[in-house]
Amino acid sequence: MSLCPHCGVTVEETAAFCPSCGKAVSSGSTGPRVVDREELAATGAGIKLQAEGLRKEAHKAFVCLLVVAILQLVVAAIFYALSPALLQVSVVVGIIGVLFFGLAFWARRSPFPAAITGLVILVTLWALDAIADPATVAQGLLVKIIIIVVLVRAIQAGARYRRLMQETGTEHV
């Protein structure tokens, strides 16, 4: 602790300016200020950079949910075209497709809650499929894993983005 030469209040050793009068105070070192990663991350420019990256990551949830929606609707159409006896199945698949369309468009505005919902619904439906027919677990396993990874990363990015906005006092979009 030292005293401000201009107004006399106590000033932190590391302070470059007096927090009371705003005038420069002499600090121990006169060399350039070294900004580490954490400090840069908390500056206005650093926050902008981080927010941009997180938004992009979270936005992938939109693409992912849209792909699921389109796949579901295509499958529903195929079922219906194959045989009118499969009407019940195609209605079920179609309802889920419409649901994912809704989620995808919600994800455009708010990827964070939409990605959580999409993940929960998909895992539930896959579990239900697996019980009805255990062979479905292996079907499209790679696609399922990609979808889960994208959604989980979107959720993490969404959470971080919102916290960043909260900490900096900016209203998130």
């Binding site: 209040v9 000033v11 932190e12 590391t14 302070a15 470059a16 300016f17 007096c18 927090p19 009371s20 009068c21 705003g22 005038k23 420069a24 580490d36 954490e38 400090e39 840069l40 991350a41 908390a42 500056t43 206005g44 650093g46 926050i47 009407l87 019940q88 209605v91 079920v92 309802i95 889920i96 649901l99 919600w106 708010s110 964070f112 809650p113 959580i116 919902t117 929960v120 619904i121 895992v123 539930t124 439906l125 579990a127 239900l128 019980i131 959470a159 919102r162 916290r163 900490e167 900096t168 006092g169």
Partner: protein, 281 residues
């Protein structure tokens, strides 16, 4: 900019003197000690150079604050899903989709769900206690009663449409209970009262409360409604279950109490029983 002249003091006497005696609010810091920028009220750190208000440099990111409530809501959802799926597996492997065995499985699932939800309520008692203590205004119970009629009519129309157009079999709630030799008390308890209390505590209590920690209220209601909808495992009923979930969620948010949504859910299920026993709409 010139300083505005001091407004004339209107209050005189003891009130004025007590005001004057109060210590002035510390206007400290007025400038950032890192970069000299004018400090604005409400800043916890300087947005220009990242210096904290207390003078410490570098903002350490706070630990993942959202993680615990997110985990809590998802873990309860998946625990309930696991019991439901276990019930489905048990029903399939018992070989008979109807009859007393099925009823026994279903009631076991409901009993386990009750225990699970109470355990999670205990873990989330900070969120749940205010909801259970708050009784809310009478008008919210009136809204719940009116809402239950609306959701019942909506659900009946949706089921009727599915039965007529797709030939779906109507789900029987009362018949298996009566066939197994139980009376009205068991029917009301297991079909109306237990689901109303346990599902509301789970979805509008623990899950909505936890989601509300890191989502906006409207978003939390939508996500919890989606979970409520999917957990019923009946894709055909998704549309009206979702709308019912929304109604229950908003009732819980607006009233600040868990009882109005419990009442709505209880009455809704009650009407469903009466409709089945007395021949529907």
């Amino acid at each position: 900019m010139q300083d505005a002249p001091e407004p004339p003091t209107l209050v005189e006497g003891p009130a004025a003197s007590s005001l004057a005696e109060e210590p002035a609010a510390p206007a400290f810091p007025r400038y950032c000690s890192g970069c000299g920028a004018a400090w604005e009220a409400g800043w916890t750190g300087c947005p220009i150079c990242a210096r904290r208000g207390d003078g410490s440099s570098a903002a350490k990111r706070t630990e993942e604050i959202e993680e615990r409530p997110l985990r809590r809501s998802l873990s309860l959802y998946f625990a309930l899903l696991a019991t439901s799926l276990a019930g489905v597996i048990a029903t399939i492997s018992s070989g008979r989709p109807d009859g007393p065995a099925q009823l026994f499985i279903q009631w076991t699932v409901q009993a386990v769900d009750t225990l699970l939800v109470f355990a999670w309520c205990l873990a989330a008692r900070k969120d749940i206690a205010p909801l259970v203590r708050a009784t809310s205004g009478l008008r919210w119970y009136a809204f719940a009663a009116a809402g239950s009629l609306a959701t019942f009519v909506l659900a009946s129309l949706a089921v009727e449409a599915l039965v007529r157009t797709l030939g779906i079999e109507r789900m029987k709630l009362a018949e298996p209970v009566f066939e197994a030799g139980h009376g009205w008390p068991a029917l009301l308890l297991m079909v109306s009262l237990q689901p109303a209390i346990v599902e509301e505590l789970a979805f509008r209590g623990v899950i909505l409360g936890a989601l509300g920690r890191f989502l906006k209220p409207g978003e939390a209601v939508v996500v919890s409604s989606m979970m409520f909808m999917v957990l019923h495992l009946l894709p055909m009923s998704f549309p009206h279950l979702f709308l019912m979930g929304l109604a229950l969620g908003f009732l819980r948010i607006r009233s600040g109490s868990i009882y109005p949504p419990i009442l709505l859910h209880f009455l809704h299920n009650l009407y469903c029983i009466f409709a089945e026993v007395h021949g529907g709409l």
